[in-house]
């Protein structure tokens, strides 16, 4: 049993000479240390500025333990019918919001595509508008639409439609720009009109991509639709916020489970549909 054999000084020098890259790089080490130090300093600033006290953290954790304890068993209480209705409402909000957003975004996407509208200023302007729409969170849209159409699911539909218009406009324009010119040229060369070229050259390429993006956003909007109720725009979020405020933890747990199961089912169905539409290749969305 021989222990590990230590390299002698001569050997070490030889190794050092042969693999300089592995032993040098002090500059990179200092840079890495500086980055870590900056990050820690920033975290320290955040802890100080946000007034994070460890006493509060401790008492809060005790509370969390009590809350989690209260969550078992999850129970709908006497509100099962109300909750299921709210769940349906949530799905309706996600579905109609996505669809409306896609319909509004389609002409905007055409306008924002360089290959369709060669005018630089036109597509620049449309793109900046889409960026601005996208920069506003869906919850802010929900609050704004509550001011316009009042509390309820309709405000939620409009909020999701508005925020999706921004994302879809960008994605659709990219899908249209990425379309291959050759089928279009082919249709034109056999005597087709511009309309024919769009119908037979462009649409078959673009529609599957757009359809899969819409489905993908329907998935993600189902999640958004569960929370916009928290600010009063319809759906299951309203009940969730209410049950949390009245400390009915069993019902909170039931609602969270309901949301998780629904989201999982929607994910499954929509990814099946997406694969059916575009074939089992990886899709670049978002």
């Amino acid at each position: 049993m021989t222990g590990p054999r230590w390299t002698t000084g001569v050997e070490a020098a030889a190794i050092r000479a042969r693999y300089p890259a592995a032993f040098e790089g002090t500059r990179e080490r200092i840079a890495a240390a500086a980055i870590v130090a900056t990050m820690l300093a920033l975290a320290g600033l955040a802890v100080w500025r946000l007034d994070v006290s460890f006493a509060r953290l401790g008492t809060g954790l005790v509370q969390i333990a009590a809350i989690v304890g209260g969550m078992f068993p999850p129970t709908p209480g006497t509100h099962l019918a109300v909750f299921m209705h709210a769940l349906g409402e949530t799905l309706a909000i996600a579905f109609l919001g996505t669809l409306t957003g896609a319909l509004i975004a389609l002409p905007l996407g055409l306008l924002a595509a360089k290959t369709i509208v060669p005018n630089v200023f036109a597509h620049f302007a449309v793109r900046r508008v889409l960026d601005t729409i996208r920069g506003v969170d869906v919850l802010i849209w929900a609050l704004i639409f509550i001011n316009v159409v009042g509390l309820g699911p309709f405000a939620g539909i409009l909020a999701i439609a508005a925020s999706d218009t921004g994302s879809f406009g960008k994605l659709f324009s990219e899908a249209i720009e990425n379309a291959d010119r050759k089928p279009v040229d082919g249709v034109l060369s056999t005597g087709g009109s511009a309309l024919h070229a769009i119908r037979w050259g462009l649409v078959p390429q673009v529609v599957p991509v757009i359809a899969s993006q819409i489905l993908y956003y329907f998935e993600s909007n189902t999640r958004s639709a569960t929370i916009i109720g928290i600010v009063g725009a319809g759906g299951i979020g309203l009940h969730l916020a209410e049950q949390i405020r009245v400390l009915e933890w069993g019902q909170v747990a039931f609602l969270v489970l309901l949301i998780l199961v629904t989201v999982a089912i929607i994910d499954l169905v929509s990814s099946r549909l997406r694969f059916a539409i575009i074939g089992r290749s990886t899709v670049e969305v978002g």
Binding site: L42, L57, E89, A92, G135, L143, G234
Partner: protein, 294 residues
């Protein structure tokens, strides 16, 4: 005429044409069926979502009016003062925006830490015990599927109002989302360096440090920066449930119809988000370039 152009025996042409027509008809039938299903779903969702088109049309003039009201009264002669009036609370909002950024930062940092610890347990090539992998993956899945605002609501009840529940909620969501991505990165590494370190007698931690980390670190950092961008947006609305940042002021302004305040804050938020996006994009490109060089 068509038959002549095809130059096929008539019966064969008819046969092929019949096939073509049947194919087109089947496609049409599928399309019509899909449209019918879609129409039914729209009607059902419309009923469920309490869509009231007449009411919407009757009130639809309010949206342009609302947007119009968001614009502050600016006059060319008095532009400086008007803008100062519009952003009357600029310093206060800037401070709140700073807090929002810090919430996003702290949430991202903690979330990255959690994801880093868990990702090795969730990746198939480094964790041979299936039950540990299963537990780690389900935990990450739970953390990313429950919306962060729900965590924020719960934490506000437990920790009280303030930034603390906000960044904790972000941290948990970030951990779930990044843990999955990190595990995928780890599963795609070249296993030869790992085998090399193990052959040289390294334990699990040492082999992760010297064989795995150099391969994954730049990707981890890039994903973390991307998540920071997303978290800045989320942190801006955390205040809606009382979890710190500029959100609570924004909500009050929207609810009380302080139009110009709303537009001022929205402009500041959008500008901040754009600046952060640009900065992190630069950083990420440099990181990926750096990863290629070493």
């Amino acid at each position: 005429m068509t038959a002549n152009a095809l130059r096929l025996p008539p019966e064969q042409a008819a046969h092929l044409l019949g096939h073509y027509r049947a194919g087109v008809a089947a496609k049409r039938r599928r399309l019509v069926l899909g449209m019918v299903v879609l129409a039914i779903a729209v009607v059902l969702a419309g009923i469920g979502g309490e869509v009231d088109i007449p009411k919407f049309l009757a009130n639809s003039h309010r949206l342009p009016a609302y947007v119009w009201n968001l614009a502050p009264p600016l006059s060319w002669a008095n532009l400086g003062n008007d803008i100062a009036e519009w952003f009357w609370n600029f310093d206060g909002w800037l401070l709140l925006l700073g807090d929002t950024l810090l919430i996003a930062y702290l949430g991202t940092l903690l979330g990255v830490g959690g994801a880093f610890v868990l990702c090795f347990a969730a990746s198939a090539n480094l964790e041979r015990r299936p039950w540990i992998r299963f537990v780690a993956r389900r935990l990450l899945e739970f953390c990313r599927t429950v919306p962060e605002l729900v965590f924020a609501l719960l934490f506000v009840m437990a920790f009280g109002l303030g930034a603390l529940p906000g960044f904790l909620a972000l941290a948990i969501h970030t951990m779930g989302a990044l843990g999955k991505l990190f595990a995928e990165v780890v599963e795609n590494i070249d296993m030869k360096p790992v085998e090399g370190t193990i052959a040289a007698g390294a334990g699990r931690l040492v082999s992760i440090r010297f064989a795995v980390l150099p391969q994954v670190l730049s990707n981890f950092a890039s994903y973390a920066l991307l998540r920071f961008e997303i978290n800045v947006r989320s942190a801006a609305v955390m205040g809606f449930v009382g979890a710190g940042g500029i959100g609570s002021d924004l909500m009050v302004a929207i609810r009380k119809f302080y139009y110009t305040d709303v537009s001022a804050m929205l402009i500041m938020i959008i500008a901040t988000v754009m600046v952060i996006d640009l900065l992190t994009e630069q950083l990420r490109h440099r990181l990926i370039g750096l990863g290629d060089r070493t």
